[in-house]
Structure formats: C-alpha cells, structure tokens
C-alpha cells in the first residue's frame, strides 16, 4: 500500500468523524481498596450505572451515599489512583450480545477470553432486568432431555424450570451438567455455562470436553475465574442470563447453568462487607435472598404471544459436609422448583451419578415428562421406594419371605440400571426400553453384575428388532399394543440368547 493511499483513507475517516461534545458528570476517586472505590461528585448517578475511570477500567456504582458513591471496579484496581477522574456513562451495566457469541468463552462483561478474536456485535443487553411477568408466562410442558437416566425418569426437568443441583464437593455436580450439555445436541437448545469462581484449569478441561463432544457450537461459556475480582463473580450470572435472554427473545429454548451460586454469594458477601453494608446471618448481607431470587426468576417459559422461548436454569450449590440447612442452600432450595441431591456416601459406594432419589424432587417436571417415560418411571419409583424401606433387612438374607426377597432383588437391579458412566448420555427411547425391561421384571433373573452388559446388548438388539416400538416413541411419545408386543418379544428373545451365552 502506498503512503498516498494511507493518507487518502485517513482523510476520509477524518471527514466522517464528528466529535460530539456533551456535558459529562465526573467525580474524583477518594479512596481505592480491595476492588472498591469511593468516589466523590457524580451527583445524578443511578444505581448499577456504569462508570469509567481515567485509565479505561470500568466500574459499577452500587452504594449511593450523600456525598460519595461506592463503586465496584471490574478489572484491575491497582492502576487506579486517588484523585483520578471518574466519568458517569449514563448507562446501566450491559453486555454485548450476538449470534456469533456461540462457541465462545467470554468474561463477565462479555469480552472474549478464548483468544479467538473480537466478537462482532452492535447490540447490548442490560445485565439487570425485571423478570417476565405472570401474563407472559406458560407452564412447563416440554422436557429437557438430560440423557441421565435417574434424572429423566425420576426427577424430570422441564423447559423453563429451575432445578437445583446440590451436594458436597467432589460428588459429580459439574459432571451432571456437562452430560446435560452434551446431550442437547440436536435438541434445539442453546446452552450457557456460567462459571463462577472456578479454577481456570477446570474450565479449560470442561471447554475441551465440550469441544470434543462437538457441543461448543450451541454453547456459550461465561467465566469469572477465581483469580478475578469478586465484582466479576458477582455480575457473571446476570451477564449469563442476559445472553440467555437474547436467545430467548428469538424464540429459542436456552439452558443456563450457574456453577456455582455458593461462590456467587461469597463474592457478594465480600463486596457488601467492603461497602460497609451490615452483615446478617453467616455474615451475608440482608439482600442475599433477593440476589438469587431475582436471578432465578428470570428463568421462564414464555407463551407464543410474547415471543415464545424459554430459559431453563440449573443452579449448582455446594454444601459443607452434607449440611443443607445452611443459609445459602435453604435459600436456593426455596427459590427453585426442585433439587437433585448428590451424596458422598453413594458416590463412594459406586452409585454414580450419586443422586439420592429419596431426597431429590422435581416440583413441576413431571408435567413435562413424555407419556411413555411416565408410565415406566411410575413403577420404577415404587420399586426404589420399597427397596429403600427393605434395605435394612437385606442382611438377614435367607430369613426373608419370597415377596421381600423379590423386592430386594428388583431394587438392586434398579439401582444398577440407574448407574451411568460420565460423558455417556442415553437417548430417551433407549431409557424407555431399559426401564421397561426392568419394571416388567425381565431383568429379575439376570445376575446383578451382568446388568450393565445386558442393558447394552438389549439396546443394540432392540434397535434392530423392535423398530415399530422405537418409531412410536419418537413420533407419538407413547407405545401402542402392537409396539409393546414387538418389544416384549425382542426382550425375551435377547434374554434367552444372553443367558445361554453367559
């Protein structure tokens, strides 16, 4: 390119440039500490309005006092000095949104951090928004297929539902949500994974796993890492749900995962204490309930007149030593429409996913379950409940009557069937076939240790020999007598060959 050409371009650009002079509200930094700045001036500022510091960092005004404003700094606060100029922007904090954000990893203010270049966008969404009202909503009636048998059968999640995943550390909470994301391929679902205060290594692993499963194409990761300021952790879930709302406004179904809200509450506690707000129970501020309720209330299913679409929220909360009566777990349990309890004991017994079926509930999801699944899951629930009741007697072995023994044997097989490897989501029709075989007693004479092998073989065999059944489930979500007879025959045939083979 010749010099003249550059000059020409510059001239053209400068001709196009129009400088707009406007009145700006400015203030001065009075003190800076731990990611908080006290700023004087800024008289007409609004709550959660964005401000810019003279070195380009942004902040959010949270505490509006008589003479000063408490600002949380989003980014590096070490470069901000006392006396620096602070400008009010007149805008409530917002994140850039666009379709090209899919497949990307962004931070809490929507800036990409995956090294794949800038995201082209000219649209922004405010991070704080009032949740959709009662008139715009529709009750839950479509399922989210998680691909995890125990969840899809017993604790089903519907589109627009908020289902809490709760458990101690290292019980497989994140594993459940990764499997769920992996299973959304081809299900017409956009996924937003919000990582709050997690290790960057864990996030990298997760991203790599999603890329391997070709799931990043419909997923956005919003990350506020452990090394970033508490302010970033505080706004990350709101930024995530704003991105989700952008897709919902196009009528799409979105699944959002908050991993995890206990760290979010801790980040908010840190900010609140630094802003000198009075501490309450466990030193959390008084509005920590509202912090989560306003976030989770934004999950919804909208009716067609208001654009359709839905946001399903799967918040995660980590407990300490299984204590669900702590402040944050009880709060979030009461906000959500059910919870999936994960237990360390079950995890080490080898029951994975370590879901405690007795304590887990889904308050609205059963409306969303497909008819065929409802039919088989009803019997399964009963089998498991009776098994739990009788489990204590299991050690008496031979002293039991036949009916009890049968119950125990069925229960053992049910537990075995519900075990599932990580990263191996199961299609809903396969789940129905397996659970059908279990609840109708076809597995009762298969040895417990051979159940997994039997299950895998049965799925393969039935796919070829019960085509009518599969077709019916796919099309009408329920089987007819014809399909059922075909499946029964296929199961019986397979069992005969399986038992003689082994």
């Amino acid at each position: 390119m010749s010099n003249n050409h550059i000059v020409e371009i510059l001239k053209k650009e400068i001709d196009n440039f129009k400088s707009q002079i406007k009145v700006e509200k400015v203030g001065q930094v009075m003190e800076v500490f731990d990611g908080i700045a006290k700023v004087s001036g800024l008289s007409d500022i609004k709550s959660s309005e964005m401000v810019t510091f003279s070195n380009g960092e942004t902040g959010v005004a949270l505490n509006l006092e008589e003479d000063t404003v408490g600002v949380i700094i989003l980014g590096d606060f070490s470069k901000i000095k006392e006396g620096d100029e602070v400008k009010a922007t007149g805008k409530i904090l917002e994140v850039p949104v666009s379709d090209s954000i899919l497949g990307r990893v962004v931070n809490a203010i929507g800036i990409p951090i995956d090294g794949k270049g800038a995201i082209k966008t000219n649209k922004t969404y405010p991070i704080e928004k009032v949740a959709p009202g009662v008139i715009t909503r529709l009750s839950v009636s479509e399922p989210v297929a998680t691909g995890i048998k125990v969840i899809d059968a017993i604790i089903p999640v519907g589109r627009g539902q908020r289902e809490l995943i709760i458990g101690d550390r290292q019980t497989g909470k994140t594993a459940i949500v990764i499997d769920t994301i992996l299973n959304q391929k081809g299900q017409n679902m956009i996924c937003v994974y919000v990582s709050i205060g997690q290790k960057d290594s864990k996030l990298r692993k997760l991203q790599a796993r999603l890329e391997e499963g070709k799931s990043m194409g419909y997923t956005v990761i919003v990350s506020a890492g452990a090394s970033e300021a508490a302010a970033m952790s505080y706004i990350a879930p709101y930024a995530g749900v704003s991105i989700a709302e952008y897709f919902m406004d196009q009528g799409k179904d979105v699944l959002i995962i908050y991993d995890d809200l206990s760290k979010h509450a801790v980040a908010y506690r840190e900010i609140s204490l630094l802003l000198r707000r009075p501490p309450g129970r466990e030193a959390y501020p008084g509005d920590v309930f509202y912090l989560h309720s306003r976030l989770l209330e934004r999950a919804c299913r909208r009716n067609k007149e208001y654009g359709g679409g839905s946001i399903t929220a799967l918040p995660i909360v980590e407990t300490q030593a299984g204590d669900v009566t702590a402040y944050i777990p009880t709060n979030v349990i009461s906000i959500t429409d059910g919870q999936i309890f994960l237990e360390t004991d079950l995890f080490y017994k080898g029951i994975r996913p370590a879901v405690n079926v007795g304590l887990s509930v889904s308050r609205v999801g059963s409306n969303a379950q497909i008819k065929a699944m409802k039919k088989v899951a009803g019997t399964l629930k009963l089998d498991l409940a009776q098994y739990r009741e009788l489990e204590a007697f299991a050690q008496f072995g031979s002293d039991l009557d036949d009916a009890t023994k049968r119950q125990l044997e069925r229960g053992k097989r049910a537990v075995e069937v519900l075990k599932q490897l990580q990263y191996a989501p199961v299609k809903i029709e396969h789940q129905v076939v397996t659970l059908y075989a279990l609840t109708k007693g076809f597995m009762d004479d298969v040895p417990v240790e051979k159940i997994k092998e039997f299950e895998a073989g049965l799925i393969e065999y039935s796919e070829h020999n019960a085509k009518v059944f599969y077709k019916e489930i796919k099309e009408t979500k329920m089987w007819t007598e014809k399909g059922e007879a075909e499946l029964k025959k296929a199961i019986a045939d397979f069992k005969n060959s399986f038992l003689t083979r082994t």
Binding site: L10, I14, F17, S19, I21, E24, V26, G41, L42, S43
Partner: protein, 136 residues
C-alpha cells in the same frame, strides 16, 4: 444514635444566621463554635465550611465555574460565556474562576460542580484517536 451529616450541620448554620443583623451574627458565631466543640466536630470544620459555601452559593443563585484554558480568554468571550451559562444554569450570578492549563492545547474546559463541558483541543484529539483506532 443517628449521625448528623456535615451537610445538615452546614445547612443548620446557614438557616440560623441567614436573616440576622451583623451584631446578632457576631453573638451567634461563638455559640456555633461551642456547639461544634461539644459535639466533637471541630475536626470536620473544613468540610462543613466547604458545604456551607456551596449552600450559600446555591441559595443566592451564584454558580462558580472553573474555566480552564490554554490561553487567557478575551473579555468578549468571557461576557458571552457568562451569558450562556446564566441561561443554562438559570442562576443570577456566574463567577468565573479562570485557570491556565497549557496541556489543553487550545479551547477550554468548564467545570461546574461535578459537571464537565470539555471543549478543549486535547479532548477532541483524544476522541479522534478513539474513533480512528476503534475495532471494526
């Protein structure tokens, strides 16, 4: 105990001394000092005085404008500036506090309380730089 802010104290001082004659005022001032001493507020007097100054200015319709410019302003410019600002802030009196700042390169920068109207060349060049280096 509710704490009284410096602003409220300043306003109280203004209200009690507003319509008093000079003799009454001279009797009043020792009392104010005594009050501040009793309430352990003497360390905050500089802030209270600052607030008092602002209250008096706003009550009397006076607006202080800090004018920063690279070169000294001409008389005509100043008169025009005062006229415009009077209209804009609907105040009776405009007090210009002129300051020279070579860094501005040209033009001027007006500061009215926490409002800033930046008409300086430096600001314009900064904006042009922002525009030319924006991501496309």
């Amino acid at each position: 105990m509710t704490t009284i802010s410096n602003n409220e104290i300043a306003r109280a001082i203004y209200l009690v001394s507003k319509d008093k004659s000079p003799t009454e005022q001279s009797l009043l001032y020792p009392k104010i000092i005594q009050f501040l001493a009793r309430r352990h507020l003497l360390s905050k007097t500089s802030d209270i005085l600052l607030k008092l100054g602002k209250i008096i200015n706003s009550e009397e319709g006076r607006t202080i404008v800090v004018v920063k410019s690279a070169f000294r302003l001409g008389e005509k410019t100043k008169i025009e500036l005062v006229q415009t600002l009077k209209k804009r802030y609907s105040s009776k009196e405009i007090v210009l506090d002129e300051k020279l700042d070579k860094n501005l390169l040209g033009g001027m920068r007006l500061e009215i309380n926490d409002e800033v109207i930046d008409l300086s060349l430096k600001n314009k060049i900064g904006k042009l730089q922002e525009y030319l280096t924006r991501p496309i």
